[in-house]
Symmetry: C2
Subunit: 372 residues, 2 copies
């Protein structure tokens, strides 16, 4: 099985679970700004830049008349960031970090051609920053070599991302049946150009927060782990929103849960000193999981995989709250929201999913004020 051999899910997981905050669903809809797709999008500013990263230097002296790698440098391991600031922007930007095999596209136009969270939240007056993590997509320059294997695996991801059991879709799954949508989805994958390294990723994301100041970090899947690390490295992460984190769950040393066996391998928590862990108790954290995640072991790897990951997420939540924090796990079916894949934010009901996030941001007073 491909994912057992890959580093897609780095070792380390563990969690503590609360019950999805019922407050999260009880806010009147009228308080949520409705998206207005046909209206013009009015931007104060947009741009892109690299942030963070390192420089490595080859031995020797560079000779411009006989150029070679002797004495040359390589600037790599940075993140690539594109950003847009709407007019009348709110104070705190949303910073989006993709998951495994993905890049900024996760948050852009959906596979079926609708607006993604990038534009939905611009319309809701948030500055939006989209990341390509180090060694991925437009942040491709890595200080560590890698072989890009070009191995066919579309159907593996189809299962892992809970579209269905190939070649069938799950009944009622929130993914378009237009074949072009699946074509677009498969083409939104892109390989690592260097080994995945959660510390390298979180260093670059931390450098972004050092540059832009306070904001809300929104992660997906494999981005969850670097997200927790980032929030422990910088106090500029004022809240964490995580869609289906799958790995890298942190726990105080001595409180790491037992590994959880699954068809896709054991899931392990990561121990960190209590002092570092306590930083996660200072900010609101919400974790969302979609539909078709079983409570009992499943013979379908893509299902059994998420059974242990939501369980670990709940232990993570419990650990944070036990130490005085404010973490919530929202299992969408518990709110009556059915059919979501691993990509709730780009599923066919993504405006409804965006409304949930807007409510969380409002409840936690993260959508206030104007940009300085």
């Amino acid at each position: 099985m491909i994912w057992k051999q890959s580093s897609i899910w780095p070792s380390g997981l563990s969690l503590v679970a609360l019950i999805a905050s019922s407050a999260c669903a009880s806010r009147p809809r009228s308080e949520v700004p409705a998206p207005t797709p046909p209206a013009a999008l009015v931007l104060e500013e947009q741009g892109s830049f690299a942030v963070g990263g390192t420089v490595v230097t080859s031995p020797g002296t560079f000779n411009p008349y006989e150029p070679s790698s002797d004495g040359a440098t390589l600037h790599g391991d940075h993140a690539y960031v594109s950003y847009q600031v709407p007019v009348d922007a709110r104070a705190l930007p949303l910073v989006f970090l993709h998951g495994a095999g993905q890049f900024s596209k996760s948050w852009e136009t959906t596979p079926d051609g609708r607006e993604g969270f990038q534009t939905i939240f611009l319309r809701r007056r948030f500055p939006v920053y989209l990341l390509d993590q180090p060694r991925r997509g437009n942040a491709g320059r890595s200080t560590v070599p890698v072989n890009v294997s070009a191995t066919p695996d579309d159907q593996v991801w189809y299962g892992m991302f809970r579209f269905g059991v190939w070649p069938d879709f799950f009944p009622g799954v929130q993914f378009s049946r237009d074949p072009e949508a699946l074509n677009q989805f498969f083409r939104s994958m892109t390989p690592n150009t260097g080994p995945f390294d959660a510390e390298v990723v979180s260093d670059a994301v931390s450098a972004l927060f050092a540059k832009i100041g306070p904001g809300v970090l929104v992660t997906h899947s494999q981005g969850g782990g670097p997200g927790w690390l980032t929030a422990m490295k910088t106090s500029n992460v004022h809240a964490l929103v995580s869609y289906e984190p799958g790995s890298g769950f942190v726990f105080p040393t001595g409180e790491v849960p037992a590994p959880m066996p699954s068809l896709t391998g054991p899931l392990e928590g990561v121990g960190v000193p209590l002092e570092r862990f306590m930083r996660l108790t200072k900010i609101p954290i919400v974790v969302y999981f979609g539909d078709n995640i079983p409570e009992e072991p499943s013979p379908v790897p893509g299902l059994d995989n998420w059974r242990v990951r939501i369980a670990m997420a709940r232990l993570f939540r419990d650990a944070i709250n036990r130490h005085g924090g404010d973490a919530t796990v929202v299992h969408l079916p518990e709110l009556g929201i059915r059919g979501n894949t691993h990509f709730a934010f780009s599923d066919t009901n993504n405006v409804q999913i965006a409304d949930l996030l807007s409510r969380f941001l409002a409840e936690k007073h993260l959508d206030r004020g104007d940009r300085p």
Copy 2:
């Protein structure tokens, strides 16, 4: 020397040269819309998608209960496209294709943090499409494997891109002396995730034009070759603008010039049937080259490299015009514009360079009308 071993400059070049059109510089400045950086940017629409590409399938049958590459597919070799349409847009979009080692960043925020052609031309009411070519940046999914070597070579590119002779800048070069600008520039490089293939690239760019209809294709450097190929594959390319094309110059069979030796290897033209070549005579073509390109052989590889490339560009121009076409080579110093690197469109005088392009588009009636 790194570039001799690489496929950065695929074999095949040849050209025909005219003299830079003096009309290009004689238009009154008042006809060129001035950029207004502080004003809000008002967009009708923005988004991203994959276009073109192929699907490969592994032998065997995919088993969702024991997932592997058996019977799995890989969707790859597409281009990734992000686009923005301003309100009151002109009829023809500008489609931007980067060069070797680059991605869409070439046209985005400049290394010193100013607006690039993406936003400058949005402000001038053009729909703008930015490409990542197949096997590069966000279009990373390749059907052919490759090793990403992580070889230090920043200084090699510094020389090849004519910033100076490392560690010195050329006197008067249009590049910021702020060290952060060079840091940003080096981090705007990204590796190939599969072998460079001009046919694969031009197939994807042609698929984009099939999707969006008529437009103007703007290429840089190594993108020049796929640009000529695209314009021979689709009649939707209504004009070609090429910044410092370095390779892949096409000539009618039997009219290919002799290879041009240089310190970076011989530069060769590519023969194509006259019938295909004639398609390039049906549209206006303009080619721009910057400063510090010698007429005589130079001991500096990065200079000698461009000596033969501008010479081949002039032969390319001559061949097109000999067959009734409309091609121009603009050597910027001949217009009194000094100090430009290989990246005129992001140099410190890039608004002046954008003004030249606006004039070309106006002269050729490519900036008329409204979007249907």
